[in-house]
């Protein structure tokens, strides 16, 4: 087990009170594995990613409690200075906006080499490796690119530069926070393919934060679905796509276009995500869930209701909750994912 | 020019200015209450004790200025007696006296006072009560800052809106004009204008405003430009709403926060400028009484024996507290209205 996050809570001070952006998140990443965290914006997935490296915007945000075990040791025990040794070395990160994530006044080469120099490599080695990296991520004329400034490159090229910065010290885990969201569709595919190739070569694990189920199907081995600061479903990608268990996950799939539902209106999830400063008492999805009954609004569901291997945070799977329908309510409906499974050849 | 000068020298006009400012501000604030964004901002402002203190301080200064604006005019001598004058009616002293009589150096020692104990801040070289003179400065400060604001806000607003909204030709012209004006250093512009226009409140305010409308105009232009390309403005345009209506109904309300913050912060800068102009000998008339004049006259008194320092201290503190209050209020407003700008 490379990374194990247990009951992570990251809170923010806001004028309305304490916002519990990440509220008890647990998941794990095996060596060489790709885990995706998927959810709508505001569900806490990006904050989860930033929490791993303790880069939550201060002083408003802070990690309230939890454990982040990396190779068995808790990262939260480290001081800021000790944490610095991990960042960019064992764990590195790429971000959504390649436009603004690079410093505009330094050359690309300087910024790649900086990562290595920060971790004790000498200038000559750093320069040679920077050249090698730029070549590897598919930049033509790498020696010329070293001397270029970020604004002289296209968005896709900049994200390639970001990737070479992240890979400079051969990390064991790459955290990719929506790495393709800001890019054109064709470039998206190239970047994803590149990440996958590099992963195969180096054997690193990838934690991919995304809102795009298509990307999940393409690259992820396992998936955590997040809603309102919590993981609501955790499954191998194939399993999740074949049989989504949580009503929220089903809602996500139903809102995608699919061939077997041609001619029907796309389903939408009614309502909005509740306020993170005042989560509802019961299930956080209850207000938007068409299957919810009384208990859903009063009792908060646990993550392992029936002790199965596929944890789901939903009362429908909890035999101890009263008022539960005898069988899953959607068995009579059309399958929501058949097409996607086929398309992604899962 | 002459008739304008006479018009603005009228007590009625000069008194109308502070009242008008108060009325306009009150209207803007009450009007703004209806907007949800502002209601939230008020609540935040009310919870900030520093902001409340600043408002109270400004209120007290405003009250003094107001009390100094109402009074009676003597039929024969045409002298005006305001409420503040009435409150400080006491026998005229012959010489200086310190608030704590021993706190100065040099000769001659002060002679006995006619109304001992009534001069909170002592009396100056010619026996005038320092505290009374300080209070008289409040009205001048409000008139100068207020009138200048009344001049620059509409000019900056209208030109900024036109440049930002219509762009192209109008933008080029207006940008050229304000680039020209802003490349003349502000203090030099003020000096030149007062020399050319002559002394007087009206002239000083024009001189102060001539350099300052540029800042307002540039700000409004930038903000308008931002809003012009927003969806809601495009939607309104597509629906055939007239330009004037878009500007007044859609864009202007969105600019109100920026305008109010700028005006509040600008007020303090104007009060400070008045003092500098007085020092350069191109400020308000000595008979009107202003903090700038008090500070200016203090420089001679500090060079002489006995050293009369409380005149300077009293005026500086009065000015300092008012400016500090406006600065703090401006910052608090910015925090309350736009949490994104919070440091």
């Amino acid at each position: 087990m490379l990374l194990q996050v247990e009951n992570l809570k990251t809170y923010f001070h806001t004028p309305r009170g304490i916002a519990k952006a990440v509220d008890g998140v647990s998941f794990s990443v095996e060596k060489g594995e790709t885990r995706a965290i998927v959810g709508e914006s505001g569900c806490g997935k990006s904050i989860t990613a930033l929490s791993l490296l303790q880069l939550v915007p201060e002083p408003a945000g802070y990690i309230e409690s939890g454990r982040i075990l990396f190779e068995g040791k808790d990262l939260l025990d480290r001081t800021w200075e000790q944490m610095r040794e991990v960042r960019g070395d064992d764990i590195s990160m790429i971000f959504q906006e390649p436009m603004t994530s690079l410093n505009p006044v330094y050359t690309v080469g300087w910024q790649i080499e900086e990562t290595m120099r920060a971790h004790g490599k000498n200038a000559a080695t750093a320069r040679a490796r920077a050249l090698e990296l730029l070549d590897r991520v598919g930049i033509k004329d790498p020696s010329g690119a070293l001397r270029q400034y970020p604004h002289e490159l296209s968005g896709g090229m900049r994200q390639r530069v970001m990737i070479s910065i992240a890979l400079a010290n051969r990390p064991k885990l790459l955290v990719a926070d929506e790495p393709t969201t800001a890019l054109d569709v064709t470039v998206q595919a190239q970047i994803l393919a590149l990440i996958r190739e590099l992963q195969k070569e180096t054997g690193m694990a990838v934690l991919l934060i995304t809102h795009d189920l298509g990307i999940v199907a393409e690259v992820a081995d396992t998936v955590s679905v997040m809603y309102a600061g919590q993981v609501v479903e955790d499954a191998p990608t194939r399993e999740l796509f074949k049989n989504p268990r949580h009503p929220y996950t089903r809602g996500l799939f139903a809102s995608l276009p699919a061939r077997n539902r041609r001619g029907q209106d796309l389903a939408t999830l009614e309502g909005v995500v509740p306020d993170s400063a005042a989560w509802p008492k019961g299930c956080r999805f209850a207000d938007r869930c068409k299957y919810a009954w009384e208990s859903c609004h009063t009792i908060a569901p646990t993550f392992h209701p029936n002790g199965s291997d596929r944890p789901v945070r939903c009362h429908l799977y909890d035999p101890n909750i009263s008022g539960r329908p005898s069988r899953l309510p959607w068995l009579t409906e059309l399958p929501v994912t058949a097409d996607l499974v086929e398309a992604a050849k899962l | 020019m002459e008739s304008l000068e006479k018009f603005f020298a009228l007590d009625f006009v000069q008194n109308a200015i502070p009242c008008l400012i108060v009325a306009l501000l009150a209207w803007a604030l009450i009007r703004a209450r209806r907007e949800p964004l502002w209601a939230e901002a008020y609540r935040r402002l009310g919870r900030n004790p520093v902001a409340v203190a600043a408002i109270v301080v400004i209120g007290i200064y405003g009250l003094v200025a107001f009390l100094d604006s109402i009074g009676t005019t003597d039929k024969v001598s045409q002298d005006r007696t305001t409420v503040i004058d009435r409150l400080f009616e006491m026998p005229k002293e012959k010489t200086y006296s310190a608030p704590f009589a021993s706190m100065t150096t040099g000769e001659p020692k002060p002679s006995a006072l006619k109304a001992p104990g009534r001069h909170i801040m002592g009396t100056d070289g010619v026996g005038a009560d320092v505290f009374y003179r300080t209070l008289k400065g409040a009205r001048t400060a409000f008139i100068i800052s207020g009138l200048t604001t009344l001049i620059i806000t509409p000019v900056g607003l209208i030109l900024g809106l036109i440049a930002g909204y219509y762009g192209k030709f109008w933008d080029d012209i207006i940008q050229y004009v304000y680039t020209v004006i802003s490349s003349i250093p502000g203090i030099l512009m003020q000096i030149a204008l007062v020399l050319v226009l002559g002394k007087g409140i009206w002239q000083i305010c024009i001189a102060l405003g001539a350099a300052r409308w540029v800042g307002m105009c540039r700000l409004i232009r930038g903000e308008t430009l931002k809003h012009r390309d927003r969806e809601y403005v495009r939607a309104a345009k597509a629906l055939g709403v007239s330009d004037l209506r878009i500007l007044l109904r859609h864009i202007l309300p969105n600019l109100l926060p920026v305008i109010i913050i700028t005006v509040t912060l600008g007020f303090s800068g104007l009060a400070l400028s008045e003092a500098i102009l007085s020092y350069l000998g191109i400020g308000v008339d000595a008979s009107m009484g202003s903090w700038g004049n008090m500070i200016d006259s203090a420089r001679d008194e500090l060079a002489r024996e006995p050293v009369i320092w409380w005149n300077l201290t009293s005026a500086s503190i009065a000015l300092f507290v008012l400016v500090l209050a406006f600065q703090t209020l401006g910052d608090a407003l910015r925090d309350a209205i736009d949490p994104r700008l919070r440091s």
Binding site: E114, T115 | I191, V196, A275, I295
Partner: protein
């Protein structure tokens, strides 16, 4: 680079012409030579002949086209003419006064910039803590004191009570140093509040940028991020804001110079204001503007040196 500079200079020409027109309009449109003469003549109600005589003496009797030439071409060639009150050649007085003003202004500017930037960096490094809150509050207090109170009050306290330096005067060579101390200290203190606050805002704006997060994610040390990443980006707005100070470098701080008896341009201007000397004021307005425009050109060049995004073509 050369063509870039040339283009900047070309941009400046219409602005300079605009300023010349504005000043001409001020002195001949709003006011008139007659008004100037009336103010300058010592008698209370001057006779028309006296005014006429004054106008002839000071060269204001020429036709309008000649006046316009004086306001534009002569100004541009630094041919400012003679003072209205003393009859001295203005340009030679300006040349005399420039050096003392440049020394005082330059020292105030450089020392002030260094202290303000350093304090702002400290505030930015300790952002959100009591250190930062204290510095911010202190700045607002400093900003709320009117400039002349700094000058009058500090001269009184430092010079007269504590006797830390001579109250006023000037000397050439090394003897200048003792006369410089007080005005420079006072000049620096009076500008600190506003500058620190401004620079702190610039720095904090940059610390919230995405590239800072990237640098942290790379494991770069905080001090390195502040000095190498943030500072270099924040320098650009700092450069822009310091342009405003460039005319004051040479024109000198009016109040400071007249107060400490420094024979600089500021002092000259204050005398001109007191003497209602229009031609001197006009020359100084032009000079101040010219310096501002030159300052703007230098800003653009500095920008091009610091920011790779500025295109030189």
């Amino acid at each position: 680079m050369l063509s870039y500079i040339l283009r900047r200079i070309l941009y400046a020409i219409p602005i300079l012409l605009g300023v010349l027109f504005v000043t001409h309009f001020l002195f001949f449109g709003i006011s008139s030579p007659e008004v100037i003469a009336r103010r300058n003549l010592s008698t209370r109600n001057p006779k028309p002949e006296q005014i006429k005589q004054w106008l002839t003496d000071h060269g204001y009797d020429k036709p309008a086209s000649e006046q316009l030439k004086r306001s534009t071409i002569d100004m541009m060639s630094f041919n400012f003419g003679k003072s209205d009150t003393t009859g001295e050649d203005i340009w030679s007085r300006i040349k005399q006064g420039a050096l003392p003003s440049l020394i005082v202004g330059g020292l105030v500017f450089l020392i002030g910039l260094a202290i303000a930037l350093l304090t702002a960096i400290i505030a930015a490094y300790f952002r959100g803590t009591y250190v930062d809150a204290f510095i911010t509050f202190f700045c607002v207090v400093l900003m709320s004191v009117v400039y002349i109170v700094y000058v009058i009050g500090l001269q009184f306290v430092l010079g007269k009570l504590l006797r830390l330096g001579p109250i006023s005067g000037w000397d050439t060579g090394l003897g200048m140093l003792k006369f410089l101390a007080l005005p420079v200290v006072i000049g620096v203190i009076s500008g600190l509040g506003a500058d620190i606050r401004l620079y702190r805002t610039f720095l904090l704006d940059e610390t919230n940028q995405d590239y800072v997060r990237t640098a942290r994610a790379k494991g770069v040390a905080e001090q390195w991020i502040l000095f190498r990443h943030v500072l270099k980006n924040a320098l650009m707005p700092v450069i822009t804001s310091t342009v405003a100070a460039i005319p004051t470098l040479i024109l000198g701080s009016l109040v400071l110079e007249s107060f400490f008896g420094i024979p600089g341009l500021g002092n000259y201007l204050v005398d001109a204001i007191n003497g209602q000397d229009f031609s001197v004021v006009r020359a100084m307005v032009f000079l101040g503007t010219l310096l501002t425009i030159v300052g703007l050109i230098f800003t653009d060049i500095a920008y091009a040196l610091v920011d790779p995004r500025v295109r030189l073509e």
